[in-house]
Structure formats: structure tokens, C-alpha cells
């Protein structure tokens, strides 16, 4: 068992040659598919139009014209770029950055899909895609996923699998909606959401650390319980008292000057407070885990609890603290989701918590990786939900599978072997 808790990069798993080649071949296939189906398949007379002006023009002193592209040629070029990257990976077998390349390929693929979906045959330009709106829409989902996978990072780095993220989302969204409806204060809603998420984390920690129950079973049952409890309370409380579940869209807090940048402004600097909080949290967790004494201890507990205990670290205490903090982060994520949807509905998180777990795995248990993965997943969830508005010639139900299929591909390690913290999910007994 390797124990390189001091030097994180040294423990990054080497990807076996065969697997790297396999990834390259998959990328090649994606590239060919893009070039042939989205490119040649869309006919050479088709156009795709992209617009960039934000829907709310209050912070946009600029106007960018419509960019019209020849769908077929653009997608052929995109496809060939993917093919080139795939060929490079398959033949040269780079030792690092395979995952990052796969991320780039995925983004290019989504872009090609978008162009293909928005194409119009003939010269008329009725159908167009607002790229800024797409980015804003997927950033809201990506934000929720980042909260979830940060929660996972906190827990799993300390050796506890928090599969209850979905439940913490649900709990946070429920109380968040009630608090925001009554007080109209999202700061307060976030605090209450964090308390509820932390409480769920406490239950998970209590049952799995003190009573050594199976963490995954407890987590899944907690999700079931919170799902049914929220649906119960929705019928029992929110339906008779609709004033507790009013429209609660969090207000945008534009950052002066920066929010006026073209495209980037509305996406990054004209967001809700939750978005900025997420960025701060990513930086904090990232710095804390890898640059501080506290982080070293947490990682030691997650990799080799016996060794950590032998140098005087209180393993169980560290795990309790991290699971509760992780739960609180996911709870805030639930409030953030509610604030982007406007109100609470039972079941509307539809597996986002589990997708966040997959983002965590894809991101190799690192906050920065989790952010990249969350962006990818956010984009795919958003496109699956919204491409039907562009009248895609493809059954929407098939598009709806997209995020889930990608998640399966990710955890199947199609894009590289990943190594969880060594003691992740294992119970620890003091004796």
C-alpha cells in the first residue's frame, strides 16, 4: 500500500498502455462520428447560427452580431480535430493529460452537437442557438454539481463515502425553499440548508463511524428517507400553504465592470451569490486539502488511518468533522439548486447528487478536477434538457440518457484508471 500523502502528484496513478490506447480509439470513433453524422450528414447547404447577446440586456452594453457557420464544414473540421487528438493519444500514448484531452474532446463534441441541432437547411435563419444562454444555463447546473462533488471530496478524502449527497441536495432544497419564501433572504436560506445537510452528514457519520454500518447502504437509505420525507412534507405542508414555496429565484449580483465583458461577463460575473460562494469554496477546499496541516491530516486519515492514528491524529474526530462539513456543503448546493429553479418540487434533483459523485471520480478526488468534470456534466445535463427546444431530429428521450450514459462511461474508467483514497469506504476501529 503506497502512502504518499505528502506528495499528491507522485501518487497519481499511471494509466496502463492498453487503456490509454483504448481511450484514443474511443476518441477517434467520436471524431469520426462527429465528422460524418454531424458534419457530412447534415448536408452541405445547412447553416447554423450562433448568437451571443444575453437574454437580459441590463449588463450588456455590447451587441455581438450573429455568427453563421456552414454546419457541415464546421463539424467536419471539429470532427477532424477530435480525430487528430484521438490519433495522438492512441499512437503516442502520452502519460499525462489524457483525461484533460478527453474533456476537450467532449466539449468539442457538444459544440458540434449544438451546431447540428440548430442547423437550418437553406438560406433562411429562423433557428439559432444563443451560446451565452447555453453557457449560463449549464453553469447553474455545473455549480450544483460542484457543490456536490466538493462535498464528496471532503468526505472521501477522509475515508468516508458520502453517497447521501442526493439526499442532502433534497433536504437543502426543501428547507431552502421554505426559508427563502418566508424571509426572502438567501443568505439565511443557505445557512439553514447547510445545517440540514450537515445534520444528514452527522447521521451518516454517526451510523457509519460509531456503529460501523455499511456507509453505502446507510447513504442510499438516507437518500430514500429524505426523498420520501420531502415528498410527504410537500403534500402535507407546502401544498396547503403555498406561501412557503413561492418563486425564489436568487437575484444576480453583477460584479461591476467585469460583468460587462462580452460572453464571459454574463457567464462568470453576473451570477447569484451561490456561484461566487462555490468559487470561494473550491479555492478554500483545494488550498486547505493540499497546502495546510489540516489537509495533510485529512488525507492521512483517508489513506491510512492506522498510521494517522499512530502519530496522534484523532481519526474518528477528523472523519466526523469532514462528513459534517461535506454534508453542509451539499446542503448549500441543494439551496443553490432550488434558487436556480425557483421552488421545491419532490424528485426534481433526478440523480444530480449521484452525477456529482461521478464528477468527483472523474476529477480524481481533487477539487480542481471535480470542477472540470462538473462543467462537462453540467453541459450535458443542460443540453439533454434543452435541446428539444431546438427541434432536434432525434427522440428527446434518447437525449435524456446522455448525462447518465456519460456518467456510466466515466465510472467505468473508460477514460483512465482512477485511484480512490486507500481507506475510502472502509470502517475504522480504534483497537
Amino acid at each position: 500500500m503506497s502512502l504518499d500523502v505528502t506528495n499528491e502528484t507522485a501518487t497519481t496513478a499511471r494509466i496502463p498502455v492498453g487503456r490509454t490506447r483504448g481511450i484514443g480509439v474511443i476518441m477517434l470513433a467520436i471524431g469520426l462520428f462527429t465528422a460524418l453524422v454531424f458534419g457530412v450528414g447534415s448536408g452541405f447547404s445547412a447553416h447554423s447560427s450562433l448568437t451571443f447577446n444575453p437574454v437580459s440586456l441590463t449588463n450588456a452594453p455590447w451587441r455581438i452580431g450573429t455568427l453563421t457557420l456552414l454546419t457541415a464544414w464546421t463539424n467536419v473540421v471539429l470532427g477532424l480535430a477530435i480525430v487528430a487528438m484521438g490519433a495522438h493519444v492512441a499512437l503516442r500514448l502520452p502519460r499525462r493529460g489524457v483525461m484533460a484531452r478527453f474533456g476537450v474532446v467532449a466539449v468539442l463534441f457538444f459544440f458540434a452537437l449544438l451546431l447540428w441541432a440548430a442547423r437550418t437547411t437553406g438560406p433562411s435563419q429562423i433557428n439559432f442557438v444563443n451560446l451565452t444562454a447555453v453557457l449560463i444555463g449549464s453553469s447553474a447546473l455545473a455549480m450544483v454539481l460542484v457543490f456536490g462533488s466538493l462535498s464528496g471530496v471532503m468526505c472521501e478524502r477522509a475515508g468516508v463515502v458520502n453517497i447521501a449527497i442526493e439526499g442532502q441536495f433534497i433536504g437543502g432544497a426543501f428547507v431552502g425553499s421554505m426559508v427563502a419564501s418566508t424571509t426572502h433572504d438567501f443568505f439565511f436560506a443557505a445557512i439553514v440548508g447547510a445545517l440540514v445537510g450537515g445534520l444528514v452528514g452527522l447521521v451518516l457519520a454517526f451510523l457509519s463511524l460509531r456503529y460501523l454500518s455499511d456507509q453505502i447502504i446507510v447513504g442510499v437509505v438516507l437518500v430514500t428517507m429524505l426523498g420520501s420525507l420531502s415528498s410527504y412534507l410537500n403534500l402535507q405542508v407546502l401544498t396547503p400553504f403555498p406561501q412557503y414555496n413561492t418563486g425564489n429565484l436568487a437575484p444576480n449580483l453583477p460584479i461591476p465592470l467585469l460583468s460587462k465583458l462580452p460572453v464571459l461577463g454574463p457567464v462568470f460575473f453576473d451570477q447569484t451569490g451561490f456561484f461566487y460562494l462555490m468559487i470561494v469554496l473550491v479555492a478554500l477546499v483545494s488550498f486547505g486539502l493540499f497546502k495546510t496541516r489540516w489537509g495533510l491530516r485529512v488525507r492521512a486519515v483517508g489513506e491510512h488511518p492506522q498510521a494517522a492514528a499512530s502519530v496522534g491524529i484523532k481519526v474518528v474526530g477528523v472523519r466526523y468533522a469532514n462528513v459534517i462539513m461535506g454534508g453542509a456543503i451539499a446542503g448549500v448546493g441543494g439551496v443553490a439548486f432550488m434558487a436556480s429553479q425557483g421552488q421545491f418540487q419532490p424528485g426534481y434533483t433526478s440523480g444530480l447528487g449521484y452525477i456529482a459523485l461521478a464528477a468527483l471520480i472523474f476529477g480524481r478526488w481533487r477539487p480542481s478536477g471535480a470542477v472540470v468534470a462538473s462543467v462537462l456534466f453540467g453541459l450535458s445535463v443542460y443540453l439533454a434538457d434543452n435541446l428539444q427546444t431546438y427541434q432536434v431530429p432525434m427522440p428527446t428521450e434518447i437525449l435524456g440518457m446522455f448525462p447518465y450514459v456519460i456518467t456510466i462511461a466515466v465510472v467505468s474508467g473508460l477514460i483512465g484508471r482512477v485511484r480512490p483514497p486507500a481507506a475510502d469506504g472502509l470502517p475504522y476501529r480504534r483497537d
Binding site: S213, I216, V221, S231, Y232, Q236
Partner: protein, 416 residues
């Protein structure tokens, strides 16, 4: 090793080792938890408590309102799912209204039928150390496959019914094999893969209902053709009895017998249990780990698929977009049932009868008192949380703790 304490109270002796006792106490705790949820969310009860200090009679009144509401909820849960003494007495004394008196228990058995089959599937996987959380998707796939065969092919019943059932099993095996193969060959953790597969199958369900020949002719909605009568599981006591319990019950009994034989007597079942108990020992003794994983998922998925097609052919008869969605998602309940039954066939039968009764009774409770049916699921998950932590239950009730029950691991981290 037997304890050598000379004098043990009867209480201690009764409650000493048996996991059954823990289960009963977990059920009690679950019902208490449900009562707390009712008390804290039901308006009349809260109003009564709000006036607690207003008058001398108020505390008594508050307690009475609480007892009335909780009592009514749980009483209707019982009478709605087992029997109501009044109607039963009426049937016995007058010889009339038997159908009425037996309807609750018939409903419970109807609900328990597919639940038992799916739970056996989940339980076999658990015994092999694999958490198949995708039973619902596999059952859905079984229902889809069964609907194709049951509506689009026309055969005499002696052939049609078995073929429909086999199609359901095949659908479940198909849906279960994907996670199985992925886990065996890539080490992907089955929990995430099977969970995600549930969503994939939901999308497949909608797609088949909206865009394929399965959709009922002339329909725009997500509703399929109705199964041919020759592909339906007939009511056990005839249509005229008015009782919905059907021949699926026979299938469920056969599945339970098969599972008992498989786990206790067959050599493959032994391999499964060894793998679940100690993967290292299994590998050392020459058991092919990959083959076990693939077979576990095939069998577990096949049983879930059978559960789905039984639910379709015995209960719904027509596939639609609400099949196994939300509260009807027997595949999710099957996980809790299997845990409650300690993954053993006989335990699962009792657990599934209990949870079926909670579900059916919950529906009666919702109709009579307006307390939402979801309370049943809340109680179920609370019970399972307590069952998963036997030490906590023993501490609460001051039972003797046996060290062997302290650590129970069914799944192991992220695998790989």
C-alpha cells in the same frame, strides 16, 4: 462461545442473539419515528399542542388529539392492509361479504408478489457482496420486454404466458448484464452504474411508449397496448371473487423455493456466498471472481425482470409512463426489503409482506385521513436504517450486544 453468566433474566435470554428481535425493535422504532413525523406535520395536532398552556384541560386535549390522529393513521394502515375486525366478523357471522373482508389481505399479497421476487434478486446479489441498486431499472426493462411479447405476438395461453414471462426475465438479464460486465471487466462500482442505468431505462421506457409499435394505436400519450388476455396472470380466485391476488403469487413461491435451494444447496450459490463473505478466500480457492460477478448480475437482473413482468401481467396489464415510477418503484423498495430480511429467502418473504402491508395500508391511510402515502416509505427507510445498525437498536433497548453483529459489511468502498 456461550456466555457463562450464571443468572440471566428471561428478558436477556429472549433478546440475546436473535437478529429477529433486533428487527422487531427496529420496526417499533420505525413506527415511533413515523408517529413523530405525523405529530409534527399534521395541522390539528399542532393546533392542539399550541394551546397546551391555555387551559387546565388543554394538555389532556392535546394528548388525546395526538393519540387520535396517530392511532387513526396506524389503525387504518392495519385495517387497510390485513383485515378489519368488523367486516371479518360480519363475514363470519352472516357468511356474506367475504370478498369485502378479504380485500385488504388480497391487496397486500398482490403488492408483495413482485416485491418478493425483486427482493430475492437483490438479496442474492447482497449475499455475493454486490449492491444491485438497479433492480428498478431491470424490472422496468422486464416490463418493457414483456409488454412487447404480450401485446405484439399472439399465441395460445399455454405458450403466450410462459414466453411473456421469459421475455421479462430476458429483459432483466439484459439490463443487469451491462453493469455486471462493466464491473467485471473495468472495475466500475456497481452502485453508480446501476443507479445511472435506472435513469437510462426510464428514458428507454418513454421512448418505447412514444415512438415504437408498442404505443397503443391512436394514442399520443405514453401508453402501450394492453396485454393479450392470454399473456395476463389471472386472478387466483377467479374474476368474480373481486380479489386481485393473482397467479403471480405462485411464481413468487416458486422463486422463493428456487432461491433457498440455490443459496443453500447449489454449488454456484455457495461460490456466491463465499465471494460475498471473503473475496480473498474465494479467489484463493479458485472461484472465478469475474464469472461470479457476471452471473450474480444476470441472476439478480433476471429476477428483477421477472418481478417487473409479473407486476405488469398480474396487476397493471397495460404498460404506461408511470410504470414502477415513484411510489410504485418496487425495485427501490426491494433493496430495503432485502436488507430487512437479512438477504435470506425466508426473511425476505416476511419483510416483503410487512412492507407490502405498509404500502397498501399507507394508501388506505391517505384515502381516509389525508396523511400522504409517502409516510409508509419514511417508516420503511427508518426501519432499515435501524436494522443496518443493530448495535444502536440494542443500545436503545438495553439488549445484550453480541460482538459478531457489530460489523457487517455488504459492500466494500469503491472496489477496483
Amino acid at each position: 462461545m456461550p456466555e457463562s453468566t450464571p443468572r440471566r433474566s428471561i428478558w436477556a435470554r429472549v433478546t440475546g442473539q436473535s437478529p429477529f428481535v433486533v428487527t422487531v425493535f427496529a420496526l417499533v422504532l420505525g413506527l415511533v419515528f413515523g408517529a413523530i413525523v405525523i405529530i409534527t406535520t399534521t395541522a390539528p395536532v399542532l393546533d392542539a399542542w399550541r394551546g397546551f398552556f391555555h387551559s387546565w384541560g388543554a394538555p389532556g386535549h392535546a394528548l388525546k388529539v395526538t393519540a387520535d390522529n396517530v392511532g387513526a393513521a396506524y389503525r387504518i394502515m392495519f385495517t387497510g392492509s390485513v383485515f378489519s375486525p368488523a367486516t371479518l366478523w360480519h363475514a363470519i357471522t352472516t357468511g356474506q361479504g367475504w370478498s369485502n373482508a378479504l380485500t385488504p389481505i388480497s391487496e397486500t399479497l398482490t403488492y408483495a408478489t413482485p416485491l418478493t421476487i425483486a427482493s430475492i434478486g437483490v438479496g442474492i446479489a447482497f449475499q455475493a457482496g454486490i449492491f444491485n441498486i438497479g433492480a428498478n431499472g431491470q424490472a422496468m426493462m422486464g416490463g418493457i420486454a414483456g409488454a412487447y411479447v404480450g401485446t405484439l405476438i399472439h399465441l395460445p395461453m399455454a405458450l403466450h404466458l410462459p414466453v411473456t414471462m421469459l421475455a421479462g426475465i430476458a429483459g432483466g438479464v439484459l439490463a443487469g448484464s451491462v453493469p455486471g460486465l462493466l464491473k467485471a471487466y473495468t472495475g466500475a462500482h456497481e452502485v453508480i452504474v446501476t443507479l445511472m442505468f435506472n435513469y437510462v431505462v426510464s428514458a428507454i421506457l418513454l421512448y418505447t411508449l412514444l415512438s415504437t409499435a408498442l404505443q397503443a394505436p391512436g394514442q399520443q400519450n405514453d401508453i402501450a397496448r394492453t396485454l393479450d388476455p392470454s399473456a395476463q396472470l389471472a386472478p387466483l380466485f377467479g374474476v368474480s371473487s373481486g380479489l386481485r391476488v393473482n397467479y403471480g403469487l405462485v411464481i413468487a413461491v416458486l422463486v422463493v423455493l428456487f432461491a433457498w435451494w440455490f443459496l443453500e444447496r447449489s454449488s454456484l450459490g455457495f461460490d456466491f456466498r463465499v465471494t460475498g463473505a471473503n473475496p480473498q478466500a474465494a479467489r484463493a480457492s479458485g472461484i472465478n471472481a469475474k464469472a461470479v460477478i457476471i452471473l450474480v448480475f444476470a441472476i439478480s437482473g433476471g429476477l428483477a425482470g421477472l418481478a417487473g413482468v409479473t407486476e405488469l401481467a398480474g396487476f397493471y396489464k397495460t404498460l404506461d409512463g408511470g410504470f414502477l415510477v415513484g411510489n410504485a418503484g418496487i425495485g427501490f423498495t426491494a433493496i430495503t426489503v432485502s436488507l430487512l430480511g437479512r438477504n435470506r429467502p425466508v426473511g425476505i418473504v416476511w419483510a416483503s409482506l410487512l412492507f407490502a402491508a405498509l404500502g397498501v395500508g399507507g394508501r388506505a391511510m391517505q384515502a381516509a385521513t389525508g396523511i400522504p402515502l409517502d409516510l409508509a416509505t419514511v417508516i420503511q427507510s427508518a426501519v432499515v436504517l435501524f436494522v443496518a445498525t443493530p448495535v444502536l437498536v440494542k443500545e436503545i433497548f438495553r439488549l445484550r450486544t453480541s460482538p459478531t453483529t457489530a460489523l457487517q459489511l455488504a459492500t466494500k468502498g469503491w472496489g477496483s
